[in-house]
């Protein structure tokens, strides 16, 4: 059960420690169902922290976004930890960053929040249109309770939860320094039904589907920026020399962009669904990511973001990997 008091007490204790720089959590957004990331730098700011079905942001993204300013001569770099609150999927992002040595284990303090599934804002806003004042939302068994200005409403989970949560196998953090409350049962079994459905179509049908989606891409790069696994300093997608992908937004460049983005996440994507959530033109990006995740899981028995000691998928091999596609 979610216990906000305990969460805030632990957050206060954590930010008061000498070896913690700041804590990243969630707070109520400015309007409606919005939730913002909250950077807690002192104990008095911890009272704003919340955890509700609206907290869909993956805060692991901010671990690698920290600006690394040059250290003045004679001074030591700030080696304090960053505390971060994670749901199950976010914790896999942290583990995958550790595997890739994107962050160091002794620079991060992980506070685990077992999660019963977050909401898909598009579905919620369809159900309750035009809500502008902040709303309280809670889990209650297999229902979600909305406390709106005009009364309390109960909605079954299946109608408003995000798609990734309905098939989630890791609702509990796979790695954490503190877990805030009791573990919860996984909602799904991680089957790739949607991917299989797409695979059964013929190439022309698949291309006409993706052509439609790719041609609506406006190349805002939100999917890359929000992704906790996309943290290269020099990203190949906007490198100018050599320029792999032109900046013009047409079907050729958009397809190349989407394929390159998806491929760079092959064997790394932890299926947090952030790319799909932030996409302004609703491209089903997770359908591509999940296809690659399915191949990696079924053919190589590999899952990213579970064991910090394992090796990254694309920089390891087994001599008996499958070869049936080779002439």
């Amino acid at each position: 059960m979610v216990d906000l008091e305990k969460m805030r007490t632990i957050a206060k204790e954590t930010v008061s420690r000498d070896d913690v720089r700041y804590l990243i959590g969630w707070r109520q957004g400015t309007y409606g169902f919005r939730v913002s990331p909250h950077f807690v730098e002192g104990p008095d700011e911890a009272d704003k922290l919340i955890f509700s079905p609206l907290c869909s942001n993956n805060l692991a993204t901010y671990l690698t976004l920290t600006e690394k300013l040059p250290v003045p001569r004679g001074e030591q770099p700030d080696s304090r930890k960053i505390a971060v609150m994670v749901k199950g999927c976010d914790s896999r992002a942290v583990v995958q960053q550790l595997i890739e040595k994107g962050i160091e284990r002794d620079r991060v303090f992980v506070i685990g929040c077992p999660c019963e599934g977050v909401l898909d804002l598009k579905k919620v806003e369809e159900k309750f249109p035009g809500v502008l004042s902040p709303v309280q939302v809670e889990w209650s068994g297999d229902k979600i309770i909305f406390t709106l200005a005009d009364g309390v409403k109960e909605v079954p989970k299946g109608e408003v939860l995000a798609k990734k949560c309905l098939s989630c196998r890791y609702p509990n953090p796979v790695m954490s320094d503190i877990t805030l409350w009791d573990e919860v049962k996984p909602l799904g079994d991680g089957k790739y039904e949607d991917v299989k459905e797409m695979e059964e179509k013929n190439p022309q049908e698949r291309w006409s589907f993706w052509k439609d989606k790719f041609s609506s891409c406006i190349r805002c790069y939100s999917c890359r920026n929000v992704c906790p696994m996309c943290y290269c300093d020099d990203c190949v997608l906007d490198r100018l020399n050599p320029q792999w992908i032109n900046r013009s937004s047409n079907i050729s460049e958009n397809s190349a962009f989407q394929l390159a983005r998806a491929f760079h996440l092959a064997g790394r994507c932890i299926e947090c669904g952030e790319c799909e959530r932030v996409c302004p033109v609703d491209i089903p990006l997770m359908a591509i990511n999940r296809k690659l995740a399915k191949e990696v899981r079924e053919q190589y028995e590999f899952e990213p973001g579970l064991d910090p000691e394992s090796k990254p998928f694309q920089s390891s091999y087994r001599p008996n990997d499958k070869e049936d596609f080779i002439l």
Binding site: W207, W210, L259, Y317, F325
Partner: protein, 143 residues
């Protein structure tokens, strides 16, 4: 049109095996289709999957990546990494609707001139069947 269509196939060959194999096919005077544009790389592990996407964008109708047989890599393990990568790239291209047979990978050693001929004939045949690639080819810019 289709009987006249000559596909444009880009082949990335590893310096130590496949390029030498193609050379052997040449010096042995083995005839094979002329639709191939060979790009020599030092190892199949050097071929970035973006090369494949970029080749398709810039006018290739088929792409072939060829390296040493597993275990024979000059750099010990380069082709093992390439195999993992291109297995996924192959699945990804098929998933978005590029015809199977556009992308090919093969192992050809320096002594397999005859096999090289068969591989090329197969790849060109598949590219001819699939027809001109027009899914996401880059348009020529007319200033």
């Amino acid at each position: 049109m289709s009987e006249q269509f000559q596909p444009n196939v880009v082949a990335f060959l590893c310096n130590w095996c496949s390029y030498a194999g193609a050379d052997l096919a040449g010096t042995s005077r083995i005839k094979y289709p002329h639709n191939l544009n060979v790009i020599r790389v030092m190892c199949s592990g050097r071929v970035n999957p973006l090369f494949v996407i970029n080749a398709l964008q810039q006018g290739a109708d088929g792409v072939l990546v060829s390296g040493c047989h597993p275990g024979d890599c000059h750099y010990m393990e380069g082709n093992f990494y390439a195999r993992r990568r291109f297995s996924l790239m192959n699945e990804l291209l098929e998933y978005v609707g590029v015809e199977p047979g556009r992308f090919n990978m093969s192992w050809v050693s320096a002594s397999e001139g005859a096999k090289w001929k068969d591989v090329v004939a197969g790849v060109v045949e598949k590219a001819k069947e699939a027809g001109p690639f027009d899914q996401f080819r880059r348009n020529k810019i007319n200033w």
